[in-house]
């Protein structure tokens, strides 16, 4: 398992760095974060590019195998997004970009009504027009609606119907364009990111925030342990494609790949490599849950055992976040303000 070996190797790497000379420390925490997150953004650009390409090929010459390939590539690209979703600063914050990748949560099912609006008229659809419409029609969930929702797949608008194909081409082309822009702008941020010390805290708090969203919104809400108190599978990330646990795993794996290396260096610089190791061990433990779980949350909500296993996963996601908000934050003197994290 690649994930496990990566996770186990990192604390050792940090320990080595600790013992090495100042020259070896040229690899700073922020240099590592910038490089790793940049790698994640490149992955997103490349996988959305493939998604757009496969969509065009399929719509030009539709086959069952072609549709299957488009679906698989949608999931692969969506997972690349999940892997970098923890980053909530820098160019992703500009012009509602994060929402353009994933409009979520969507309690009013705006995604479906926007898609039906576009399918139900004759207006020309292209990337440019779509990019100026609501964020609800621009991202992965809108593509998922066309690829998986029975409202589409069981009716006359099922792919490769002309309007559905045109809409999916525009959505995938727009995703590709946004991912390329994001990746390029992240490169532009490099000198500033490396220069400004505040980005240490910014990067850490974004990871804390992402783990809270995973626990509270991506797990606890569909599980019904917050909000109404009733389980609701429609609150999960990818209920249409039935992949909500796969996408959650991708987010945790993204933190292991793109966040942990910089964290290890930062904690080593602060003589607290043990805390970074504690975080990796807990993250690893959380990731291990998925080996015994299905791809989606919905079937687990139907049995007691299922609910118990989701609850155990939730506890481990919370425990992962608690290492950052507890000992790591206190070691580094990070204060998360009430007003600074949610103003108006």
């Amino acid at each position: 398992m690649k994930a496990t070996t990566t996770l186990l190797r990192l604390p050792v790497m940090a320990a080595l760095t600790l013992g090495l000379s100042a020259q070896a420390m040229a690899e700073t925490p922020r240099a590592a974060w910038h490089a790793q997150i940049g790698h994640g953004y490149e992955q997103l650009a490349s996988s959305t590019n493939t998604f757009a390409q496969l969509t065009s090929e399929y719509c030009a010459e539709p086959t069952d195998a072609g549709l299957q390939a488009v679906r698989e590539q949608w999931l692969s690209a969506f997972n690349s997004w999940q892997a970098v979703r923890f980053v909530d600063f820098g160019p992703i914050e500009q012009n509602t970009r994060a929402w353009k990748f994933q409009f979520w949560p969507d309690p009013k099912n705006l995604t479906a009504s926007k898609a039906r609006y576009w399918l139900g008229n004759d207006k020309p659809i292209d990337v440019d027009v779509l990019s100026r419409d609501s964020v609800a029609i621009q991202g992965f969930p809108a593509a998922e609606y066309l690829l998986y929702d029975p409202q589409i797949t069981d009716g006359e608008r099922a792919l490769p119907a002309e309007r559905s194909c045109a809409l999916l081409r525009a959505i995938s082309g727009n995703l590709k364009q946004n991912a390329e822009g994001l990746s390029a702008d992240w490169g532009q941020l490099q000198s500033r990111y490396l220069e400004v010390n505040d980005y240490n805290n910014g990067t850490l708090t974004s990871a804390m925030h992402a783990l809270e969203i995973m626990a509270d919104w991506r797990l606890a809400a569909p599980l019904g342990v917050r909000g109404t108190g009733r389980p609701n599978p429609y609150l999960a990330d990818a209920w249409r494609s039935e992949q909500s646990l796969v996408t959650l795993r991708a987010s945790l794996q993204g933190m292991a790949d793109y966040f942990v290396p910089g964290l290890n260096l930062l904690m080593a610089e602060n003589n607290a490599a043990d805390l970074a190791e504690q975080f990796s061990i807990q993250l690893n433990k959380t990731l291990a849950h998925f080996d015994g779980l299905p791809a989606d949350i919905t079937p687990l909500l139907e049995t007691e055992e299922g609910v118990a296993s989701l609850t155990a996963l939730l506890e481990d996601v919370r425990a992962t976040g608690a290492i950052l908000t507890g000992p790591v934050a206190s070691k580094l003197g990070i204060v998360r303000g009430f007003n600074s994290s949610d103003g108006d």
């Binding site: 820098g90 160019p91 509602t96 009013k108 103003g343």
Partner: protein, 373 residues
């Protein structure tokens, strides 16, 4: 009658408490201390309240509310303070400051929500409130009659999106409205729907007719004009929140001299500007000296400027600082989301602790009593 002198006395009583503990005259005479400030707060468990603190630093009431609240305003010479819910902002709460009780809650009505700020007319009768019609995204000022159970009496269309804080000009007839320009929807409260085509502004409005009499535009379309205060001599200082890239440092303050109609954006030294992190929370202007305070919770600092010249006078570090009010002759009181209350002055680069409470003070402070402009 609660006048400027009344508040000043209250403020001084507050100041003396810090020095002389509980031995204030009021306590000896058994008179309740005047209410000093009202604010939305959260407790550690994330529950929402409206809290009132008196000039001895004692908490006078803590009223539980369903939604997190934002700003508020005191009724001139009256007993009411109104505090507004925010995001989605479906209710405003009228609190009787004499009894410390919630007197009534007014619902925003179908298709509408509050933005978190309001102001009363000088005769205490009319309450002007910024609102959103979220079906049309039209920003408006709604007028309520406080003498008739807060009955809705008029809606003024602002020809713009996202009105936020508003104040009454010292002429008593003009409303000054910060128009943020950002479209939101209560069903999707965290998302800003129109960042690429914002049209923020600072507006002057005739409070009798609702006519927009002047409109001033920030130098960049993503400078969201949010909070403001006006001096007794009619100088408005407004604070921006920049929605563009975090690595840019556009101006964050606007200054409007309503006597001359000159609108400008005071420049701060680059390093000071960068320290505010493109986000200002509260603006408060002194009633007695040409001073304004600007809080910047992302930058964990407050700055004090001379509002006449726009010159920066002081920078004070306060973690998670947001709420601000004028205090005494020359100073300000500010609150932190970490629970602290502090006094600031232009001649001190340190915040002076003025009490600490087991609450998270929210974005804005409302005077417990009316301060005349």
């Amino acid at each position: 009658m609660l006048t400027r002198r009344g508040f000043l006395k209250a403020s001084l009583a507050g100041a003396s408490v810090t020095a002389a503990s509980a031995c204030s005259t009021g306590a000896l005479l058994g008179r309740p201390a005047p209410l000093e400030l009202v604010s939305a707060v959260n407790d550690a468990e994330g529950r929402h309240y409206i809290s009132g603190v008196d000039s001895r630093g004692q908490q006078r009431f803590q009223i539980p509310v369903a939604e997190r609240c934002h700003g508020g305003c005191p009724q001139p010479h009256g007993d009411h303070v109104v505090v507004f819910a925010r995001r989605p902002g479906r209710e405003m709460h009228v609190i009787n400051t004499r009894t410390g009780q919630l007197e009534r809650s007014v619902h925003a009505g179908d298709g509408h929500h509050y933005y978190g700020h309001g102001v009363y007319s000088p005769d205490a009768r009319l309450l002007y409130v910024t609102m959103n019609n979220y079906h049309t995204s039209a920003g408006l000022v709604r007028v309520y009659d406080a003498f008739d159970g807060y009955r809705q009496v008029a809606d003024f269309d602002l020809q713009g999106i996202g009105p936020h804080e508003l104040r009454l000009h010292p002429d008593g007839d003009t409303l000054i409205v910060a128009l943020g320009g950002i479209e939101t929807h209560p069903d999707y409260d965290r998302i800003k729907l129109n960042l690429d085509r914002m049209e923020p502004a600072l507006l002057l409005l005739d409070r009798h007719s609702g006519a927009v009499t002047a409109r001033y535009t920030p130098s960049h379309h993503q400078l969201s004009c949010r909070h403001l205060d006006v001096s007794p001599d009619g100088v408005v200082i407004a604070g921006y929140q920049y929605e563009g890239p975090e690595w840019e440092t556009p101006p964050l303050l606007a200054r409007l001299d309503t006597a001359t109609g000159v609108f400008s954006e005071p420049e701060l030294p680059q390093e000071e500007l960068a320290g505010l992190r493109n986000y200002t929370a509260s603006i408060a202007i002194s009633r007695h000296a040409p001073l304004a305070v600007v809080t910047a919770p992302l930058g964990n600092r407050a700055i004090i400027i001379n509002y006449r010249t726009g010159e920066l006078l002081q920078r004070v570090a306060v973690q998670d600082v947001a709420g601000a009010l004028p205090f005494g002759e020359q100073g300000f009181v500010v609150t932190s989301g970490l629970g602290g209350v502090y006094l600031l002055s232009a001649d001190n680069d340190q915040a002076v602790p003025h009490g600490s409470f087991p609450v998270r003070w929210d974005n804005h402070l409302t005077p417990g009593q009316f301060i005349g402009a």
